[in-house]
Amino acid sequence: MNILVCISKAPDTTTKISFTDGDTKFNEDGVQFIVNPYDEWYALVRALELKEAQSGKVTIVSVGGADYEPIMRKALAIGADDAVRIDAQPTDAYQVAAEISNYAKDKGFDLIIAGKETIDYNGSQVAGMIAAIMDLPYVSNAISLEVDGATATLERDKQGGTEVLSASTPLVISAAKGMAEQRIPNMRGIMAARTKPLQVVPASGADTLTETVSYELPPAKGDVKLIDPENMEELVNLLHNEAKVI
């Protein structure tokens, strides 16, 4: 089984967010970048588990500049077999999805898996767009995945519960918490990752359909109003008369 895992670069979850250039650019100064957790913990690790159980190959793909290579090496250290970097600055989800689809269309992947969203833009867009462009079935927010021959059985999050469903491969999946457990790369993996193939391919020049014109930070919170723990009547009173939420 050949699996393509889409990997995005994201700022570490503890990053303090700020902007530059008149609030039009994310300030990357001092920011530590990581593999987007949904892509790593769930999509990549489940792909590796399936490969280990059934043989095959796990390829990772990213759309990005040379600055993507450290996080791609990390994904190789966790166990991916090879990596493809499509050489373009990622600017919107449609462009990224179109570039990945263009790369993947004649490679015969059985599964294409991405995390359910990135933790920076939180778009939940790329995987569904790949499915649309490649005209493949799509299962989003999947929390489990088994594959038997050409049939995948999945569980997905849905309003009010979860749903068990099946679909035929080739298939596009977005992975959510529960699909696998995080794997920490070991020294052998890290050493092996240095020599695993990381191929750079030219971009096809896909269109971008949206652009971010500015960023804003939420207004600063006022100081917390402390309430005497003995006096919960006061808290209820404030929630009703001041905050007007009950």
Partner: protein, 322 residues
């Protein structure tokens, strides 16, 4: 500019998010000299359809041939409905169904997509939509450069506005193609049915509660308030609470009017899921807990003493209101 609103349904019921999306779509249409059409599917009775008709919508298209959430079929149905009513803007709720179907519709129509919109778009020379980014730590204003536009609206971002029901309901069918997924089983998550992402009031607790057997008071407080219950990540990871209650960066993001957190320190990853809340109350024994910096009201005290007192205070308040 005509607008199409996609409304999800679940077991014959329509969600509050669908009414918000209707209100949102109807206003965008009205402000831009168009009308709003609503598309829904599945087994909906007349009462549910009439309720959907009460939020400024002009036409309701109801497809009864699709009953499962098959993203490919729903995307084809949506594209066909948008085409039949000449809609340039398509609105989904930012829920599991919307997140699944909207990207497919956008890519098929080569329409720019903004997910998680939190306010009405500016529709002057440019169509710019404000959305949550960095897990709620910032907002982005995103311009859509295509004639056709697709948006998903974050629940609790606009208030639904009921009007005289006036929509015309018509059966709608289109070639949605073969089923791409086969649904075998739905596992309801149980509980008393207050949907966490749509809840206006949420009571949440964390490791400070020391064990799952101590959640009774959290459920009691939620019940008194008519709130949904939530929890922090460690608590769902160790299985004290079900995974669908986990709010935070890797769980779900919510924006209720009131979020009460007991025994949660407020790590940045937890705040990412709740900092869209309008009012935050934090109950913690540690006055240095980082959550107090994000809180509107703070109670430095032991949850095991404070929460029961709060339950009594809420009961007295409700009794006085009645």
């Amino acid at each position: 500019m005509n607008v199409l609103v996609f409304a999800d349904s679940e077991n014959g019921k329509v969600s509050k998010a669908a009414f918000e999306a209707s209100t949102y779509g109807a206003k965008i249409a009205a402000d831009n000299g168009g009308s709003a059409t609503l598309l829904t599917y599945g087994n909906l009775n007349e009462e549910a359809l009439n309720e959907l008709a009460s939020y400024g919508i002009t036409n309701i298209l109801h497809s009864s041939s699709i009953s499962e959430m098959d993203p490919m079929q729903l995307a084809r149905l949506t594209a066909a409905a948008a085409d039949s009513k000449q809609c340039d803007v398509i609105i989904f709720s930012h829920d599991y169904t919307g997140k699944s179907v909207a990207p497919i519709v956008a890519a098929k129509l080569q329409a720019g997509l903004v997910t998680g919109a939190i306010d009405y778009p500016s529709t002057g020379d440019d169509f710019v939509v404000k959305t949550n980014v960095f897990s709620g730590k910032a907002f982005a204003n995103v311009k859509i450069n295509t004639a056709k536009k697709v948006l998903t609206l974050l629940p609790n971002s606009v208030s639904k506005q009921k009007q005289e029901a006036s929509a015309n309901v018509e059966a709608f069918s289109a070639d949605a193609g073969a089923a791409s997924v086969q649904v075998k089983e739905f596992k309801a998550e149980g509980g008393d049915g207050i949907n966490l992402t749509e809840a206006e009031l949420v009571v949440s607790a964390g490791r400070g509660l020391k064990g799952p057997e101590n959640w009774g008071m959290i459920e009691d407080l939620a019940k008194e308030l008519g709130a949904a219950t939530a929890c922090s990540r460690p608590v769902s990871d160790i299985g004290w609470r079900p995974h669908h209650e986990h709010v935070g960066q890797t769980g779900i993001a919510i924006r209720p009017n009131l979020y009460i957190a007991a025994g949660i320190s407020g790590a940045i990853q937890h705040l990412a899921g709740v900092n869209g809340s309008k009012v935050i109350v934090v109950i913690n024994t540690d006055p240095e807990a980082p959550f107090f910096k994000a809180a509107d009201y703070g109670v430095v005290g032991d949850a095991f003493e404070v929460v029961p007192r709060l339950i009594e205070a809420v009961k007295s308040f409700k009794a006085a209101q009645a």
